[in-house]
């Protein structure tokens, strides 16, 4: 029983980070109608930013959020403005080609980072890296708990922003009916740029929070893009609340799979759920939660 609870706790904490990854992806998906297949690679870049800040300047990973998030926001803005939006202008190019472009961007990011840092696994060790505390007989990793708290804080802030501000409402409006949003005076081109920046900043946050408890290497982008994709499909494309459910579900499933089936099955569990959801609950959790 304790083992089971322990696994649930670990999965749930991880799920908080996955939710953040998923919300970033789903925002971009909603507004632009495309899957961003560079999502995990952008997260990887953020992790290297944090790694560099820590190993060369001794900056605490949590503090480097203040650098990694704005930096990745800007990178996202540049990608959307100069690489993705020009593709919409050319009418002969199908919108699907934006997806191909994101694949290319992901590859370039991976190879650039590999060129600079080599393929080695790096890790960032802090005073709290292995630190744990106990509640009853369940142990909690400090780093994961803090990461979870920060992830929740950003998720809540994001919701507040989307629901309470004109800019947030304009993002949702653009996702729901682009032409109507234009009629209401929304500069939808600007919205796509801001949204890509925000989505990227959120995944940068998740990446930075993962640094103290995970490895940093150039090829981690691909698997995390796949996770982000699974989370958004689980949650229902474009649904922010769904992305939270999707993230937590994936976190729990991976934890359970890794324990009861073996570490090597961790990723297969996610993919299996993904296929099951597509088969039996197309539309994802959005079908159940309606938001």
């Amino acid at each position: 029983m304790d083992v089971f609870l322990q696994i649930l706790v670990a999965g749930f904490l991880k799920g908080g980070l996955y939710a953040l990854i998923g919300i970033g992806m789903t925002l971009i998906m909603g507004v632009m109608g495309i899957i961003n297949l560079a999502h995990g690679q952008l997260m990887m870049v953020a992790m290297y930013v944090t790694f560099v800040l820590h190993s060369f300047f001794g900056v605490d990973p949590y503090l480097s959020l203040f650098v990694a998030m704005p930096a990745l926001f800007l990178l996202g803005v540049v990608i959307q403005k100069y690489l993705l939006n020009p593709l919409i202008k050319a009418e002969t190019i199908l919108p699907e080609n934006q997806v191909l472009m994101t694949v290319g961007i992901g590859m370039v990011l991976t190879e650039v980072i590999r060129f600079i840092f080599k393929s080695d696994y790096k890790s960032v060790t802090t005073s709290y890296t292995g630190a744990t505390f106990f509640l009853g007989s369940i142990s909690f990793s400090w780093a994961l708990v803090v990461a979870f708290g920060i992830a929740v804080a950003f998720t809540v802030a994001m919701f507040f922003f989307l629901i309470k501000t004109d800019l947030g409402r304009s993002i949702r409006a653009t996702a729901q009916d682009k032409d109507a949003a234009i009629l209401m005076g929304v500069n939808t081109r600007r919205i796509t740029v801001i949204t890509f920046g925000l989505g990227t900043a959120l995944v940068a946050c998740a990446g930075t929070l993962l640094v103290p408890v995970y490895y940093v290497f150039p090829d981690l982008g691909g698997p995390f893009t796949a996770k982000a994709f699974i989370i958004t499909i689980l949650g229902g494309l474009g649904s922010t609340v769904g992305a939270i459910f999707g993230g937590v579900t994936l976190g729990l499933a991976e934890s359970l799979g890794a324990t009861y089936l073996g570490m090597e099955y961790e990723d297969i569990v996610g993919l299996t759920i993904f296929v099951l959801v597509l088969l039996f609950l197309p539309g994802g959790f959005k079908r159940l939660t309606k938001v």
Partner: protein
Amino acid sequence: MLSIENIDVRYGDLQVLWGVSFEVREREIVVLVGANGAGKSTTLKAISGILKPSSGSIRFDGIHLDQVPSDKVIGYGVVHVPEARRLFREMSVEENLIMGSLSRPAKAKRKETLEYVYGLFPRLRERRKQAAGTLSGGEQQMCAIGRGLMALPRVLMFDEPSLGLAPILVQEVFEIVKRIKEEGVTILLVEQNVRQTLALCDRAYVLENGRVVLHGTGSELMADGHVKEAYLGL
């Protein structure tokens, strides 16, 4: 106030409007009538900038609206209530209304205008928290009109506001249109309810196959042989 001069509009290679010209004067109700596919919605889209004319000009108080980016048009007080309402379906009624008031002057008066709109449509106040996509057809139309009013329009363009409504609601919508005009808003109305709109309007233009073929006051057109035959079924 609003003058459309000789515009050609096309969807890609397909030309839909051919040298369309007309004018809307301050505080008028002007109606565009025409059969399905005549180009009425296309005309409104050209004015609100969703489509740009390939030639000709659209001027509003001397400003070349055809050269203004589409998202800036509403800022000049030229507001388009589109065909089929086009509400933000997953947003609440109130959020939809708020989306109408993004421009700086409209935002400054958001609270007051919201009260005004709720006064005009008490039904919307009752449903303010409800998702717009779950409203009835009539309520959706009210919400779409309300959203347009939130922008503090000087010219309000309606594209078939009576579409799909029961006769009693159609009547109500036209009453609202008149009321809005009396508050000083100029109105450009696209309708297939020819008889009722000709009775209500100051002037009307008849559009056929993308060209203006007739224009005059409502009563002139009602007496016109061609209009009687083609649109009034007499």
